[in-house]
C-alpha cells in the first residue's frame, strides 16, 4: 500500500509538471527546454526557507512560487522574443545556467552535497507524513492545477495562445502583443512547476542539483509529447506512463545503474517513434 501511495505522489507531481509545461509547449507551441530549472528553484527555495525560518508551510509555498516566477519573468523577457528552434536552444541554455548555479552557489544551495532533512509540510497543525496523507496532498494539488489549466485554456487567453501557435505573425498584425502572452504563460507554467518542486523536496526530504538538470527538462518534454500536445488529460497519462514504465522494468532485474540508462534509452526511442507515427502524442490534437 505504501508503494501505491508513493507512485500516486510521484505521478501527481509529474502530472503537475506535464500539465504546466503543456501550456507552453502544446498550447502555445513553444518548445521550452528549461522546465526542470523552475521545478528545481521551487524545491530549493522551499528547502532553504523551511530549514532557516519558522514560516508556515503555505507561506513558504507562496514565497517559493513567487521567487521562481520572478526568475522565470527575467528569462521569459528574453525568450519571448524567439520562436521555433531558437526558443528551444535559448531555453536549454538557461536550464544549464540554473543547474550551474544550483551546483556552484555552495553557501546557499549546499552545492554538490544537496540539502538534507527537508521537513514535511504542516498545514493548520496537521503534518502530511509519507503515505496516505502526502498522497492526498499531492493529488489535491494536481487536481487544482488541472482545474486552473482547464480554466486557462478554455478562456479567451487560451484562445490567443493557440492562435500564437498557429500563426504568431498574423496575430501580431491584429494588434495582439504576442510577446506579452508568451511571457505570461511561461511565468505561469514556471510557477506551477515550482509548486511541484516544493512538494517534491519536502516529500523526498533530500534534493540535489542533478534532479533538476537539463536532461530532466528533456524528460519533461517526453511526458508532454508522449501523453499528447495540447491535451491536459494527455499530460496526466504521459506522467503515469513515465512513472509506471520504469517500475515494470524493475521486474527484469537489471543492475540499478544499467536499468537507469535503459529507461533513458527507452524514452529516447519513444520520442523517435512518436515523431514517426504520432507527432501529436497519444491524446494530442496539435502537431509540432
Amino acid at each position: 500500500m505504501e508503494y501505491f501511495y508513493h507512485l500516486l505522489v510521484i505521478t501527481s507531481l509529474f502530472s503537475i509538471i506535464g500539465m504546466s509545461l503543456n501550456l507552453v509547449v502544446g498550447y502555445t507551441g513553444l518548445l521550452s527546454v528549461v522546465h526542470a530549472a523552475f521545478y528545481g528553484i521551487g524545491a530549493y527555495a522551499a528547502a532553504i526557507l523551511l530549514a532557516s525560518t519558522n514560516l508556515p508551510f503555505l507561506l513558504v509555498v507562496l514565497i517559493s512560487v513567487g521567487v521562481t516566477s520572478v526568475v522565470a519573468f527575467g528569462m521569459g523577457v528574453v525568450l519571448s522574443r524567439f520562436r521555433g528552434d531558437y526558443y528551444a536552444l535559448a531555453s536549454l541554455g538557461f536550464g544549464i545556467i540554473v543547474y550551474t548555479i544550483l551546483l556552484n552557489w555552495q553557501s546557499l544551495t549546499g552545492g554538490a552535497f544537496g540539502i538534507f532533512g527537508i521537513v514535511k509540510p504542516e498545514i493548520l497543525g496537521f503534518t502530511f507524513t509519507t503515505g496516505a496523507p502526502y498522497a492526498f496532498l499531492a493529488f489535491i494539488a494536481a487536481l487544482l492545477v488541472y482545474a486552473l489549466s482547464r480554466f486557462l485554456v478554455d478562456s479567451s487567453f487560451g484562445r490567443v495562445l493557440k492562435a500564437i501557435r498557429e500563426n504568431e505573425s498574423a496575430l501580431a498584425v491584429f494588434g495582439y502583443k504576442t510577446e506579452r502572452y508568451k511571457l505570461t504563460v511561461f511565468v505561469l507554467a514556471a510557477a506551477l512547476a515550482a509548486l511541484a518542486g516544493v512538494l517534491y523536496g519536502s516529500y523526498i526530504s533530500f534534493i540535489h542539483p542533478s534532479s533538476f538538470q537539463d536532461m530532466v527538462s528533456i524528460y519533461m518534454i517526453v511526458i508532454v509529447i508522449l501523453g499528447g500536445l495540447a491535451s491536459l488529460p494527455g499530460s496526466v497519462l504521459g506522467a503515469a506512463i513515465f512513472i509506471l514504465l520504469p517500475e515494470f522494468l524493475r521486474f527484469l532485474g537489471l543492475p540499478d545503474d544499467i536499468a537507469a540508462h535503459m529507461r533513458q534509452a527507452l524514452y529516447g526511442v519513444a520520442l523517435i517513434v512518436l515523431m514517426f507515427v504520432r507527432p501529436q502524442g497519444i491524446l494530442g490534437s496539435y502537431k509540432l
Binding site: 536552444l89 535559448a90 528533456i218 540508462h261 533513458q264 529516447g268
Partner: protein, 288 residues
C-alpha cells in the same frame, strides 16, 4: 608566466576545439535547415571509438583516430537514412526533426553510458605532457598539435566547399533544395554525404577534445552547446562565421575566468549567445 597571455592562449586552444564541431554543425544546418540536437553525440562516439581501439585494444593511435572519424561519419549517414530522411519525406517540420534528434541524443548517451560507464576516461594511457613556453604562456605539445589539426582540417573543408563540384552541389542544396532538384542534383545523395562529412568532422573535434581533457558520455550536451553558440553567433548556416565565432567563444570564456571562477565558463559562453541574439540575431557575418 603571464596570466593574460596564458588565458589568451587557452582561449585559442579552446576555440580550436570548438571550431570543428561548430563548423560541422553549421554545415549541417545550412543544408538541412534543422537544429540537429544529437550533433554532440557524434563527437562523443568518435572519442569512445578511440578509447576502445587505442586504450583497450592497444591499436596504433592514428589508426584509432581515423576509425573513430569514419565511424562517427557512418553513424551520421545511417541516422540520416533511417530517421531524418524518412521524417523529411513525410513532410515533418523542422521541429519534428529537432525532437527526433533529441531522442537520438538520449539513446546514444545511454548506450554509451551502459557500454563504457558514466565516468571520465582518457583517450590514451599516457597522461604526461611535455609542456613548454609560448609567448609567456605554458602549453603542452598535444595542445599545439590539436590547434594545427583543427586549423588545417577546417581550411580543407573550406576549400572543399568553395572549389569542388561537391561543394557547389552542397551550396545549391543549401540555397534552395527544390531548385537544386530541378537542376538535376540528387539532393538526397548530397544530404547523405553532408551528414557523413559533418558527423565525421564533429567526431574529429570530439577526439581532439578527448585528447586534451578526456571524455564522458554526458559531454554530448557540452559539445552541442558550444557548437550551437558558435554557429548562431557566426550566423547559422555560415561555416566561416562559425569558425571565427568558435575562437571568439573560446577566448571570451577564458578571459571571463579572470573575473569569475572557472565553474561559470559555460554560463559565460551562454551569456555571450544571449547578448548576440538580442543585439545581432543574424550573427556576426549575418546571413539567414
Amino acid at each position: 608566466m603571464d596570466i593574460f597571455a596564458q588565458l589568451i592562449v587557452n582561449g585559442f586552444i579552446a576555440g580550436s576545439l570548438y571550431a570543428l564541431i561548430a563548423v560541422s554543425f553549421s554545415l549541417l544546418y545550412g543544408a538541412t535547415r534543422f537544429f540537429h540536437m544529437a550533433h554532440g553525440s557524434f563527437a562523443v562516439i568518435a572519442a569512445y571509438v578511440v578509447v576502445y581501439l587505442h586504450r583497450t585494444l592497444e591499436l596504433p593511435f592514428v589508426f584509432s583516430v581515423i576509425s573513430g572519424v569514419v565511424l562517427s561519419g557512418l553513424v551520421g549517414y545511417v541516422l540520416f537514412r533511417t530517421i531524418y530522411r524518412p521524417l523529411r519525406e513525410r513532410g515533418g517540420s523542422p521541429m519534428i526533426l529537432l525532437v527526433a534528434s533529441l531522442g537520438v541524443m538520449i539513446v546514444i548517451h545511454s548506450l554509451l553510458a551502459i557500454t563504457f560507464s558514466s565516468n571520465f576516461t582518457g583517450l590514451t594511457k599516457v597522461l604526461e605532457r611535455t609542456r613548454f613556453e609560448l609567448l609567456g604562456a605554458s602549453v603542452s605539445s598535444h595542445q599545439i598539435g590539436i590547434f594545427f589539426v583543427s586549423i588545417v582540417v577546417s581550411l580543407l573543408v573550406f576549400v572543399l566547399l568553395e572549389k569542388t563540384m561537391f561543394g557547389k552541389k552542397i551550396q545549391a542544396v543549401s540555397d534552395d533544395e527544390e531548385v537544386a532538384r530541378v537542376m538535376g542534383i540528387n539532393a538526397n545523395a548530397v544530404l547523405s554525404s553532408v551528414f557523413f562529412l559533418s558527423a565525421a568532422l564533429a567526431g574529429l573535434g570530439g577526439i581532439l577534445t578527448g585528447v586534451d581533457t578526456g571524455v564522458q558520455p554526458s559531454m554530448d550536451l557540452f559539445f552541442l552547446l558550444k557548437a550551437v553558440i558558435a554557429a548562431i553567433i557566426g550566423g547559422v548556416g555560415n561555416v566561416y562565421g562559425a569558425f571565427f565565432a568558435a575562437f571568439l567563444v573560446g577566448i571570451v570564456e577564458n578571459l571571463g575566468i579572470w573575473f569569475i571562477p572557472s565553474e561559470w565558463k559555460d554560463s559565460i559562453a551562454f551569456g555571450l549567445l544571449i547578448l548576440f541574439l538580442l543585439v545581432r540575431p543574424n550573427g556576426l557575418l549575418g546571413k539567414r
